[in-house]
Assembly symmetry: C2
Homo-oligomer: 194 residues x 2
């Protein structure tokens, strides 16, 4: 018979698989693709360091929880690179099924509590979730600027396409970060065109 602690550990062991889900972005030195576990860690550090970019209604402690949990569903549903083609309703359905299975490994109280945090992140309706989403969209361009273009080169996208895919999501939760990213992205594309 499995105890409460057995179920908690079963969930934590399952979560280990997020370290093997690879993203479209690479490490800053371009040596390999980034995985979703280390990306999630990096985002929590973004939240600690860039908390002064959040509006007054943002709860940074809850932002941290959202960022820790936000990609767990990728263990089943995979990562969807930002410039790839996606069937959004199919992805949403796959992620809901993944959440059922993965959060369902936990004791009920924890399953309900942690899933509610993930659902709030996904819905992106609260100031806290919008700020967390902004960071999730802001980090990939920072990785690409470090690594010499990364997914911008791989997917051969234009500056306008980058702005379209990440600009509004960043600006919605953290306008100061979009102002910063927009200028640096423009400079990178301008230098490349020379």
């Amino acid at each position: 018979m499995s105890t409460r602690l057995d179920r908690q550990i079963a969930f934590l062991n399952e979560a280990d698989k997020l370290k093997s889900v690879l993203r479209g972005t690479t490490l800053g030195d371009a040596s390999r693709r980034e995985n979703s576990a280390e990306h999630s860690w990096h985002l929590t550090l973004y939240a600690l360091v860039l908390a002064d970019q959040a509006g007054p209604d943002v709860d940074i402690d809850r932002v941290l929880r959202m960022l820790i949990l936000h990609d767990l569903v990728e263990i089943d549903a995979g990562d969807n690179p930002i410039f790839g083609t996606v069937d959004a309703p199919a992805v949403a359905a796959a992620e809901q099924a993944a959440a059922d299975r993965i959060f369902g490994l936990l004791p009920d109280d924890l399953s309900t509590g942690l899933r509610a945090i993930w659902e709030e992140f996904e819905a992106a309706e609260t100031p806290t979730a919008r700020f967390a989403k902004s960071l999730d969209r802001f980090q990939p361009p920072m990785q690409n600027l470090m690594s010499g273009g990364g997914s911008w080169v791989e997917y051969n996208v234009t500056e306008e396409r980058v702005a379209e895919r990440v600009g509004s999501a960043i600006a919605r939760g953290a306008p100061g970060l979009w102002d910063y990213a927009r200028r640096r992205i423009a400079a990178w594309f301008a230098a490349r065109a020379d």
Copy 2:
């Protein structure tokens, strides 16, 4: 001239290097060594899921911050596998120098605030830091139990040596977790001896 945001991003870019610091433990499927960034993420999830193992004086929000920051110094000072031989004063000095350089990349207010969290973790004197340390010592045996022995096999250690290296640190901040780990470690070594 670098702005406040330039300094924040310079720190976050430097932190990216933690994804290339390899640990003694492997992923659960033993496919490769774990890195310190994804390990840090995993620990934050441990804190969320195992918060009920913390004593009443533990601040879980601060535990999360400690775990996000705790290994950053390894970018310069490297990881010290738990069963390796270490010169503790030399390691401590290297980690202090690393903290000077890495936290020093930040604007002063952030540098002071985040370093204080890291120093509290290192000192392991508060209930919050002791719980964070317990998780940092509890996760590697869980990885080894998943991966078929991991660093226990690599370093050819006895059950007594494992208990000596991790037992008191886990028990100090989370006695329930040490009770659980101790039983599972004993069962693993017993099965191996058969």
